[in-house]
């Protein structure tokens, strides 16, 4: 699946590894949509390529739900390629020979940016469930503080898939003068009941695990079983019926006949269990709760009446991409974005790419996205030169 393919692609290549490291900036405080204030707040980020003298070539890449700031290259500590390494690098879709690419871990995350597992300076303990509820708008506000601190006036592009696409849309609406273009991929302006439902199943799985202990599991046993189940559900929603049939079918795992017990029989069970248990090592259960809640709260229409009204301030040029087999963020949600932008006469390109990979396609289907994004960015960059 995505991560494995990423690794495979990486090691196939003969190009020298781009070794990267994370940076952390600290800000005094950030006001939140809930009315609360978080102080202080740290942001972990990575950057690739060089910012040009006019500072016109910066692209902010926004990660999806379980992603982090390590989008590309080989991290010098963990030695692993970034989550979009097949798209970001010299000569790739986001060509680091030409553009300066940034990616930061989201607010509420657990990969270097302040989140529920961070130390609350007022108590000397992790925030846990005393961490304020955050929104996609808050995540973007923090990213803007980061961009300000780097002295970047306008971003050439903001881009990301899934939750990253929500942030890209939020950027275009909240800070219209700061983004020249936006590339929201496999995303929506607001979660449907079905999308909220899947997130709620995940949250309930975490909270039903007794080890969760109302969120106070730090230094103790984490709610690994609950978080693993949540991730298993997630992985089902990222695939498609076709891709699961192709990848697993009804094949049995290491046996000729059913075991007539509740050990692993099918390949698909083995895969999901592996994905679930692996996730526990890299993700904080409370971050799972907070970030899924932020996605569910996201609603670009809220306060505007219509989506077209929400885009009233938007100035960016848009490239919207969806995937035919993505049933978690179906194409109709991208088409809603496109229709609203057209109603505002905004500059928007849209295509539904044919793919069997379901929602995962935005991480996997590299070749077609590369052509689209390269052409879109080049023509956008030409206009700001």
């Amino acid at each position: 699946m995505p991560e494995q393919r990423l690794a495979a692609l990486w090691y196939d290549e003969k190009t020298p590894a781009m070794v990267v490291e994370s940076n952390v900036v600290t800000f005094d405080c950030i006001p939140l949509d809930s009315g609360a204030t978080l102080a202080p707040v740290e942001v972990a980020y990575e950057s690739y390529g060089e910012l040009n003298a006019q500072k016109t070539n910066a692209i902010l890449v926004l990660h999806a739900f379980s992603g982090d700031a390590h989008a590309a290259g080989i991290n010098h500590e963990i030695g692993k390629p970034g989550w979009w390494d097949n798209m970001i690098g010299p000569g790739k879709a986001f060509d680091t020979d030409k553009y300066f690419v940034l990616c930061s871990n989201v607010l509420g995350g657990c990969r270097g940016t302040t989140g529920p597992s961070s130390m609350n300076p007022a108590t000397g303990c992790p925030y846990a469930m005393s961490f304020p509820v955050i929104t996609i708008g808050d995540m973007v506000r923090l990213q803007k503080m980061l961009i300000d601190s780097l002295g970047i006036e306008r971003l050439l592009s903001v881009t990301g898939g899934s939750m990253g696409g929500m942030q890209a849309l939020e950027w275009a609406v909240a800070y219209p003068d700061r983004v020249v273009s936006a590339i929201p991929i496999a995303t929506t302006t607001r979660h449907s009941a079905q999308q909220i439902a899947f997130n709620e199943v995940g949250r309930q799985a975490v909270m039903a695990d007794l080890d969760w202990s109302e969120g106070n599991y730090y230094g103790k046993k984490p709610p690994a079983r609950g978080l693993a189940v949540a991730r298993m559900v997630g992985h089902i929603t990222y695939m498609s019926d076709d891709s699961m049939r192709e990848k697993f079918g009804r094949r049995l795992r290491g046996k000729e006949n059913f075991g007539f017990d509740f050990d692993v029989d099918f390949e698909v069970e083995s895969y999901l269990r592996y994905r679930g248990s692996e996730f526990v090592h890299r993700f904080d259960a409370n971050s799972y709760l907070y970030i899924t809640k932020a996605m569910d709260y996201f609603d670009l229409v809220n306060g505007h009446g219509t989506l077209a009204a929400a885009f009233e301030a938007a100035r960016a040029r848009f490239l919207v991409i969806s995937f035919s087999s993505d049933w978690l963020y179906p194409s109709y949600q991208s088409q809603e974005i496109v229709r609203a932008l057209r109603a505002r006469n905004c500059d928007v390109a849209y295509v539904e790419l044919q793919s069997n990979y379901g929602h995962d396609a935005f991480l996997v289907d590299v070749a077609e996205q590369t052509d689209l994004i390269r052409g879109f960015l080049a023509s956008t960059y030409e206009k700001v030169q």
């Binding site: 496109v338 295509v351 689209l372």
Partner: protein, 211 residues
């Protein structure tokens, strides 16, 4: 944003080997807003953006063509022009182009009305079904005509409506359209006499009579 200097006019004559593109290239004023319906892989739009500095947008139903158009930097969205124009505000464009597309739409009359709602002017290019070769082909073969401009077998043709120069003139009158300019072409040559018989392609610049 600076527009690139226009290339010398003679280049327009050779535009992409399509005579209707040549005429459209001549009609469209620089720095205008243009929507091309059924824009294919965005050749014409890319040329207009490069050479006339227009704000170029397109609609195309084929995903593969949309991909190629976006890859060349043109803002095209994948959609059906029979339904897809409703979202645009009135008079959003200076020109709306239907380059050999009208005969492929399900409801050409509605598409014409919509194009002149969202655009101040419409440019309509279509293959002339009244050309003598088409008539002769049908007369002699007794089968659906096949010519250079109508090269398809009837069961594979994307064309679902067939119209002649006279037919378009009639429809323009019926819709109270103002025909601002008309061009008739045979290959790269302009036709002046008997266009309904001699023109392979007709290009019309139309607007609503009220405008």
């Amino acid at each position: 944003m600076t527009a690139p200097a226009p290339k010398p006019q003679p280049f327009v004559r050779e535009l992409l080997g399509r005579s209707d593109y040549t005429i459209i290239g001549e009609i469209v004023e620089p720095k205008t807003k243009v929507l091309d319906l059924g824009c294919g892989d965005g050749e014409l739009l890319a040329w207009l953006a490069q050479n006339k500095g227009v704000d170029a947008r397109g609609v195309e139903i084929s995903g593969g063509r949309v991909q190629r158009a976006i890859a060349r930097g043109v803002s095209v969205y994948q959609g059906d022009i029979d339904e897809g124009l409703a979202d645009y505000p009135d008079q959003a464009f200076d020109y709306v182009i239907l380059s050999q597309t009208l005969q492929e739409t399900f409801r050409p009359r509605k598409v014409l009305r919509e194009m002149l709602r969202v655009g101040r002017r419409g440019i309509v290019a279509f293959p002339n079904y009244g050309h003598w070769r088409v008539r002769l082909s049908m007369l002699l073969s007794g089968r659906a005509p096949k010519t250079a401009l109508f090269p398809y077998d009837w069961y594979e043709s994307p064309n679902i409506h067939f119209l002649t120069v006279h037919d378009f003139e009639d429809l323009a009158a019926l819709e109270h359209l103002k025909v601002e300019r008309r061009y008739f072409l045979s290959g790269a040559r302009k036709v002046t006499l008997f266009p309904n018989l001699l023109a392979e392609v007709a290009v019309y610049l139309v607007s609503t009579s009220a405008a």
